[in-house]
Symmetry: C3
Subunit: 362 residues, 3 copies
């Protein structure tokens, strides 16, 4: 009984786990060669000394649309900095002072904006005194950017993602762009799981909300988003069935300390006198990171044989172990009975005619 | 017979598949730490307002030679743009209009170049009317770039690729640069599978043609190329035998919709009045993506034991199953014979002297 | 005896290898989704025409703090280049000439700085004659940069690394930033394996020395460093025990040919007459590459069953094979004895009473 039950379990495992779930009859290739091209479109009004309108050339960093891209949605501008002396920003740790002795000349404070001149000075707007520095002055205002500078239009920016993949082992390649009605369709469509599942153009607002972020909040202080493209191609079926699946992940915790994404960059210019000026931008925004995962599988006679053999092995050994265990249990439980039976048997044998003993010996 | 045959198959499998093909006696490390340095060299004549000669500082983006790089081979220049009003480009979807009512003031069209002012205007060169926008004007000409702007010299550009790899598990590292005759050899050699297989300098034209692209075509509209460096290091052999293998892949389909690679960037400048001007470049070219794959393997006593045990298991169980199947077949086929034999046996037993019965019982 | 010994070995293997070392009772997820944010801080005095103080906006390339970043520690500046004619640099291969016939007009030398004009000219500083070129002039001085231009302060620069990881299979995420005492702690702490193991801010000098480089040497000529963050999370234990482990690797061999890391970039400007000037920088420095590896494991009933079954199989078959081998050996050794025993047995049987024969037959 137990033996049959065990064999049934193994049989279910054979059919269920190995061949249906794990597709044990297939060889799997999970080294995927992938190429990603991205392009962001949209126009936003901004308020900078540099320009009052930003296009992708201004708000996407870096320019070349690869798998990593950053879309600026907020910024602090510090226009017209020059190399001169000014009081250090009070937000820099250990920058405050009471008199000149606190400011060692020539020292560069960690995370500071310049090199100390040795003088303690009153900061321009504040009441506090900080060490004077030689550096790009005036220093950046440390306050969180006002909502006024935010690129509210960013929610409607569109992100076009082109992904080309190749499975070298099977010499098969696929792209996430279908060929019907292009390129006019691409110029006007917008990805939608129900109506436009194969449109490669995504609204930035949709990406952000699907990742689980609140747009307003993350646009202000920045954040990382993973755009995962999953390919699971079964080449035993029609290859045209092998479609990409998009998912979006918030790549940052919601606690204020570890959240946010910002960096600084500067634009330089020279005046008539040859002096260098720079506009410093501390930008906040969405870091988009396209990650491509994929597996391709195909029927393989060797894999089928190996898996069938493994399962049969498991089955054979399983029933053998089953027997051993049963025998063991039976032996212990009926140890007394057995000795009685044995005794009976011998008595019986003595009484029986010769030819019938044969059967017992089997 | 069948049993011996089965054992022979298993034996062949043991030697052939597990130990020769799969190298089952080795432990494999496929987490490879890799560092890639690239450098492009070459000079090309161009026709831009900015300069009439481009070196790597101009045509390679980004500057820092990492594993992703883009070589500009064609471009559309839109010089001297300023923020003002002009008619939208007719190639933008939904930009054409018949009168002012079609142009909602303050609206930013998706994929457009600016914000609508509410006026319908005749485009400069064309006969069509489009909505007037506020943005970087004049807008980019939408035509495919003329062959005249193409960097024909790009075919002879050279790409130097340095790859350093490390297998942490084995604490072994390798580089694709051999040490003989350097650095003078590097400065003059050119990769060639037969004569210079270990020269790390590749001609761009060779890379493109090996990837299966036609240079002229892809230089005009752009394309992605994967440069795959494969390391398969068997540390049981001499480590100096572990050499890189280069291969080149076209990472894009040949259909016009999904082909091509381009992006835009701008160079900014200010005039005496402080107004910002920009030169907009839509650049086409080769996106090179160096991908490094590798496995290192070394003899491992544990792996050898496990694999030998697995094969022996398969063999033992295989022959057991063989027996069971044979027995089953024999039983069915000779079921009639058997009952006859059994009957005969019992008759014989009755007739036999006692001491000879023993043998039969075995 | 041998059988018991074999079973003991298998038992040790079962407990030791499969369940303790390999954690065979767990399912493992090694596809890790990771996001890396880096930020470098520090100020260095430099001696360029462009500015005499460099902050992160100047010495970190590219700006956006991703997983690849380059910190400039040394450079050769070639200020105020314009497109004109000048003698080629003598360090370019095949640039020297004796008279005009050596210089084919219109030819661009590989690795050269411009296009030959057809004239052979004396180089400005040197005694050698080289072909005149049209290109960005004057050409770069080929000498290794003097120690004077080196950013000595770079040793004290700090690198902040934020890493967020996600294991999709288990739907669990972690960050390398702990939440206690932040953000004030981050602004002042410095990573130290003993006192501050969870501080995400590293001193550049420490990173370089831990990678096994000598700072002075590599700061001068450049080098690649891999910053490896390893996560091995056992979700059967408390998830708060899953901490990152940092290690640093020199990603370059120590031989002079393959060592070093440098690239060139240019800053452009226009004078009043509209002519483009550029400052060319050949920069040397540290290429930092943050690599994240990780595995997560969790108890899985299916994996436990499969592994137990495999080990039992190995055990059962092992002892079977043991028996067969023993039997074989015994058979051969005692072949003679056996025949004698057999003969004895038969004689004994003839003499014995019927009912006791039964026992022998078993």
């Amino acid at each position: 009984m137990a033996r049959r039950f065990f064999q049934l379990i193994i049989m279910c495992y054979l059919i269920g786990w190995v061949f249906v779930t794990k597709k044990g009859y297939q060889v799997v290739d999970d080294t995927i060669e992938s190429s990603v091209v991205t392009k962001v479109k949209g126009i936003a009004r901004v308020n900078t000394t540099f320009s009052d309108l930003w296009g992708p050339e201004e708000y996407v960093i870096p320019d070349h649309g690869g798998k990593f891209l950053f879309v600026v949605t907020n910024f602090i501008e510090t226009p017209n900095q020059t190399l001169t002396t000014c009081p250090e920003s009070p937000s820099v740790p250990f920058s405050t002072c009471t008199h000149d002795d606190n400011c060692t000349e020539g020292e560069a404070v960690r995370a500071g904006n310049g090199i100390k001149t040795g003088t303690c000075r009153k900061t321009d707007g504040n009441e506090t005194n900080t060490c004077e520095i030689y550096g790009w002055c005036p220093t950046e205002k440390s306050s969180r950017p006002e909502a006024a500078t935010m690129l509210r239009e960013a929610e409607n920016f569109t992100v076009y993602i082109r992904n080309f993949i190749k499975f070298s082992q099977f010499n098969l390649s696929k792209t996430n762009i279908l060929k019907e009605g292009y390129p006019s369709y691409i110029k006007t469509c917008l990805h939608d799981e129900i109506h436009h599942p194969y449109c490669p153009v995504f609204r930035l607002g949709d990406i952000v909300s699907k990742a689980g972020y609140r747009f307003e909040e993350v646009a202000a202080k920045g954040g990382s988003i993973g755009i995962v493209i999953k390919w699971s191609c079964d080449f035993d079926m029609d290859t045209s069935d092998c479609h990409p699946q998009y998912s979006f992940m918030a790549m940052g915790s919601s606690t204020p300390v570890t959240a946010g994404y910002n960096f600084r960059f500067a634009r330089y210019s020279s005046d008539a006198a040859g002096r260098t000026h720079r506009n410093l931008y501390k930008v906040y925004g969405f870091q988009l990171n396209v990650m491509v995962f994929g597996t391709a599988s195909q029927f393989s006679i060797i894999h089928t044989i190996i898996n069938v053999a493994s399962v049969l092995t498991l089955m054979a050994v399983g029933s053998y172990i089953c027997d051993v265990i049963l025998l063991f249990m039976v032996k212990k439980k009926y140890a007394k009975f057995e000795s009685l039976i044995k005794a009976d048997k011998e008595i019986a044998l003595q009484k029986m005619p010769d030819h019938s003993k044969r059967k017992f010996s089997y």
